[in-house]
């Protein structure tokens, strides 16, 4: 059953070739078996949630429910009612939310079965999953290497086929980069497509929930069930419900693919460069027309992002003060000490650093020069994309300038931040974007990024699916987890 698509699994369940318990049991066993080596999950459930099984069975009995009985894990920043939700932080090590995130409840409604909670960089801040209070995650392709981050646990779990699908979140690349480094498909939809209710915030104007799975088709099926307006999130878009349509043929004729030549030619890693061109040429071979586009302000994106995201984070994380929930220090003789000690004990260093940068960028005297300036740069970048999308239907380019690096190789410092240079621009503009596997270099996976027009998830997923109809990179699995 391992390696089957969601549609194939749904077909087996519908034909009663296996039961929901059997299917979920196979994956449950894999979660148990591989979690020690991968560290992909912070929490593995000791038993299935009977309510989820009932819902799945009820839907299955009604027929035509593509997700009923399909197991998954949630990134551990989606609140799960009654199940520990840690954000990979000591701050929330024992936090059991009294409510479900909208993403969680919608996927429950669709009949999906939760197997556990995925590891991540603490509060989604990081690109290597080394910043987790519960230990690093290993890349299933090479356990010495990082899976990327911050949704590193979700990516590794899918890559090791511990689950067929995992939820993730992407603020500046946190779905796409680990998807690329782990050789799976991951989509960050348009900002506002999926409700943020119950998703523990890092940077509210950038955070977006998405899906990580083997294929674009699997991602599309799950994303459809997750998305749609939510009255509990004022920023969720009032768009008509979106439903993924899988293309019938691999024919890309009529499609205009934009290419940012500088991004690709500037890649230092020749292997990634070659694979990226090869993937784009594959699209051309399937009928797509290639056009050069330019994003003149994109090189400012990383700087703007590292002002805006920390600024929002510094405020969002103020609620973790040790009083009403979360870690409280054992030694505080006054309120000041209670706050400072609880927060410094609860948050890891990377989180504290970003909180401080954000507090600084918002403080009087710096607000205009940094925060406001960064918001203006954000506008310039967004306008660059608007201009580009007048010529093309989507933009294709690299996800990460490098393949998975070794643990500890660059755990601190600015070099880590530069790893997000290709993913951050689309995040700032709020555009839908995905990463799909396009082959291996030095034995490690490489991803191609597709960026679409605002609220046009369909086009990028369709192109990825058409590519996957003609190639098998997305079906590769690491030998150790076969």
């Amino acid at each position: 059953m391992i390696g089957l698509s969601i549609r194939q699994m749904a077909g087996m369940l519908a034909a009663k070739e296996c039961s929901i318990q059997e299917l979920c049991g196979v994956y449950w066993d894999r979660c148990q078996a591989f979690n020690e080596t991968t560290g992909a999950l912070i929490t593995t459930l000791t038993e299935f949630n009977p309510k989820e099984l009932l819902q799945a069975q009820a839907l299955l009995d009604q027929g035509q429910q593509p997700l009923a009985g399909i197991p998954l894990v949630h990134k551990d920043l989606f609140c799960t009612h009654g199940i520990k939700t840690t954000c990979a932080s000591n701050m929330l090590a024992d936090f059991v939310p009294p409510y479900d995130a909208t993403v969680v409840s919608r996927l429950q409604q669709a009949g999906m079965v939760t197997l556990g909670k995925a590891n991540m960089d603490e509060f989604a801040m990081g690109s290597s999953n080394e910043h987790s209070a519960f230990g690093p995650v290993a890349n299933p392709w090479d356990e010495q290497r990082v899976p990327g981050g911050s949704s590193g646990g979700s990516a590794a779990a899918v890559a090791a086929r511990m689950v067929p699908v995992a939820t993730g979140t992407d603020t500046g690349g946190s779905i796409r980069q680990p998807a690329a480094l782990c050789g799976i498909t991951g989509i960050k939809p348009s900002y506002g497509r999926v409700s943020r209710h119950g998703m523990i915030a890092f940077a509210s104007s950038l955070d977006q929930a998405g899906v990580m799975a083997a294929s674009a088709d699997d991602c599309g099926l799950v994303l459809s069930a997750m998305s749609g307006h939510d009255a509990l999130d004022s920023t969720s878009a009032q768009q008509p419900p979106w439903q993924w349509q899988k293309p019938d043929s691999p024919d890309m004729r009529g499609l205009k693919v934009g290419v940012v030549r500088d991004w690709i030619d500037g890649l230092a890693d020749d292997g990634i460069k070659q694979l990226t061109w090869a993937a784009i040429e594959q699209c051309q071979a399937q009928g797509a027309e290639l056009l050069d586009v330019s994003l003149p302000h994109a090189d400012l994106a990383v700087s703007a992002y590292y002002i805006l995201a920390p600024a929002e984070c510094s405020s969002n994380l103020s609620r973790f003060d040790g009083v009403r929930f979360g870690h409280q220090t054992a030694q505080a003789s006054n309120l000041q000490e209670l706050y400072c000690r609880s927060r410094s004990e609860g948050f890891g260093e990377e989180v504290q650093k970003r909180i401080m940068v954000g507090a600084w960028a918002l403080s009087s005297g710096y607000y205009d020069a940094y925060y406001l300036k960064a918001q203006k740069v954000r506008r310039l970048i967004s306008d660059d994309f608007k201009a580009a999308f007048e010529q093309v239907d989507l933009i294709a380019g690299p996800v990460s300038p490098e393949v998975a690096f070794k643990h500890g190789e660059k755990s601190t410092g600015v070099s880590m931040y530069q790893a997000d240079q290709f993913t951050i621009p689309a995040s700032l503009a709020g555009l839908p974007c995905l990463s799909m596997p396009i082959g291996h270099t030095q034995g490690l996976p490489v991803g191609l990024q597709l960026i679409g027009r605002y609220f046009d998830e369909q086009t990028i997923l369709a192109v990825a699916d058409q590519y996957q109809q003609q190639t098998n990179h997305h079906q590769q699995t690491p030998e150790a987890f076969a």
């Binding site: 609140c79 009294p98 943020r196 600024a311 929930f325």
Partner: protein
């Protein structure tokens, strides 16, 4: 010590909006529930929760803005004010900074020197904080978050008041507006209307402002006057001794009648305001504004003019009634249902009826006699059935029994005898029975007239209509 000082006062008034639910959550917003029983996950700042704005709070803020002739912008934006405090669950308060819902406006207040316009800088929407209870434990402060997230508008004035009386007059004017608008319950004890006063002093004639202090959380008209006067005195004393005023937040202690520095606000905070990324800008359409404009009530000044001009009330009576929203409502309702002159209504309402409410210790809003029943009693006076004196007794009985005025008068036989033929018969009888007195009167003893009135009143137990009685006596004694 011949230096003359003048005060400069600006007020920030916090008005709690009378909505059912909180500003950003669907939790009940009422006052007085058991601690922490009206706290949603959002109100407690739990991670992952998001704010969704209450339409009615927007409407109420717009309505207030229109009532002070303020500009209402085409859109408004919420911002976060960041600081740590135990009763502030999220570590920030959702408030407004750059694009408040109400722009510049003004009100006119009455001062000893005549009418004065006070400019309103802005008014913005914000969520209230919870409550810290310091006297429950020796070592701990206890936190109740019921109030956290209840909607407020903060009305900020220009520093244009030059003494405590003006500050009180301004505060009263805003109080009258928000209660007449129906957007605030006006309950001072419960903190529905409270204010922070920014006070500074400067030598008369000096243009630049002195260093100000902010006195927090004044929730009575009396305290605000005392607090401001006290604070100004304190500042003058320091300045006259050659000292300097520290810009700080102070707390007024009503029992000791003094202000003291608030330790919790010692470090002037850098609030790091920025637009709330959990919310988009809110559009304020011309339709929203028009809908609120249509709901603007008549304010006291206009009411007084109408009561005096159209209804013939004495200006003093009109003013008292017009400034009391409930009383004005009651007055107008009863006036509609009754044939009695409005002036009589006003006098009886302010006199006998108010006395009864006082004696019962009940507010007009909770009166057991409603405006229609009260109108029934007015009619009995107007048609001469009972005198104002008898009416007072009837009113007491109405309160006790809940019966209609007409029924009480009938049952107890209190109605005045206004039947012309019955009265004529009585008058003729009294004249026939007292021939000596008649000849004395006719001989020029005018005082004897009252003897006849007295005889008739005696026989009717005071129920004879006095006006008619006099007319008939004059007629038959000629």
């Amino acid at each position: 010590m011949s230096q003359q000082w003048e005060m400069v006062i600006g007020l920030e008034i916090h008005v709690r909006l009378d909505t059912d639910s909180k500003l950003f959550s669907g939790m009940k917003a009422s006052y007085g529930a058991s601690p922490n029983s009206q706290v949603s996950f959002l109100d407690a700042g739990l991670p992952g929760t998001l704010p969704v704005i209450n339409q009615k709070a927007l409407d109420y803020a717009i309505r207030f803005g229109l009532s002070v002739d303020a500009d209402i912008p085409p859109f408004t934006v919420f911002a976060r004010k960041n600081y740590f405090y135990p009763d502030l669950p999220k570590g920030y308060q959702i408030s407004q900074m750059d694009d408040p819902i109400v722009g510049p406006g003004q009100v006119v207040i009455e001062t000893e020197a005549g009418a004065k316009t006070i400019e309103i800088t802005r008014a913005h929407l914000e969520e209230d904080a919870g409550k810290s209870i310091h006297d429950k434990y020796d070592q701990y402060s206890a936190i109740d978050l019921n109030r956290a997230g209840t909607p407020l508008i903060e009305v900020v004035s220009e520093p244009q008041m030059s003494n405590a009386k003006e500050a009180v007059a301004y505060m009263r004017e805003i109080y009258t507006r928000v209660t007449h608008l129906g957007i605030c319950d006006g309950n001072l004890q419960e903190g529905s209307f409270r204010c922070d006063a920014n006070v500074s002093v400067r030598p008369v004639g000096q243009q630049t402002l002195g260093t100000r202090t902010e006195i927090k959380n004044l929730n009575s008209f009396r305290f605000i006057e005392k607090a401001i006067n006290h604070e100004a005195k304190r500042q003058i004393k320091i300045l006259e001794a050659g000292g300097q005023i520290t810009q700080e937040t102070r707390l007024y202690d009503a029992e000791q009648d003094q202000t003291r520095s608030m330790r919790s606000k010692e470090n002037a905070n850098d609030y790091r305001y920025f637009p709330d990324p959990d919310q988009l800008p809110i559009q304020i359409t011309p339709e929203m504004i028009a809908a609120q404009r249509a709901l603007l009530p008549e304010f006291p000044a206009a009411k007084i003019e109408r009561y005096v001009g159209e209804l013939g009330l004495k200006p003093d009576d009109a003013a008292i009634i017009a400034h009391d929203l409930r009383m004005a409502e009651f007055f107008e309702q009863s006036n509609q249902h009754s044939q009695a002159a409005a002036d009589l209504n006003a006098k009886f309402l302010l006199g006998e009826f108010s006395a009864l409410l006082n004696a019962q210790g009940v507010a007009l809003a909770a009166s057991q006699i409603d405006a229609t029943a009260y109108a029934g009693l007015l009619d009995q006076m107007a048609n001469g059935s009972v005198s104002r004196k008898v009416a007072k007794g009837v009113l007491d009985d109405m309160w006790d029994t809940g019966q209609a005025a007409a029924d009480i008068i009938k049952e107890q036989g209190l109605g005045q005898i206004s039947d012309a033929s019955a009265l004529t018969e009585l008058v003729q009888q009294v004249i026939a029975d007292n021939p000596d007195q008649v000849s004395s009167y006719r001989g020029g003893n005018d005082k004897m007239f009252n003897y006849f009135v007295g005889q008739i009143m005696k026989q009717t137990k005071g129920q004879a209509n006095p006006v008619q009685t006099k007319q008939l006596l004059e007629e038959y004694l000629k």
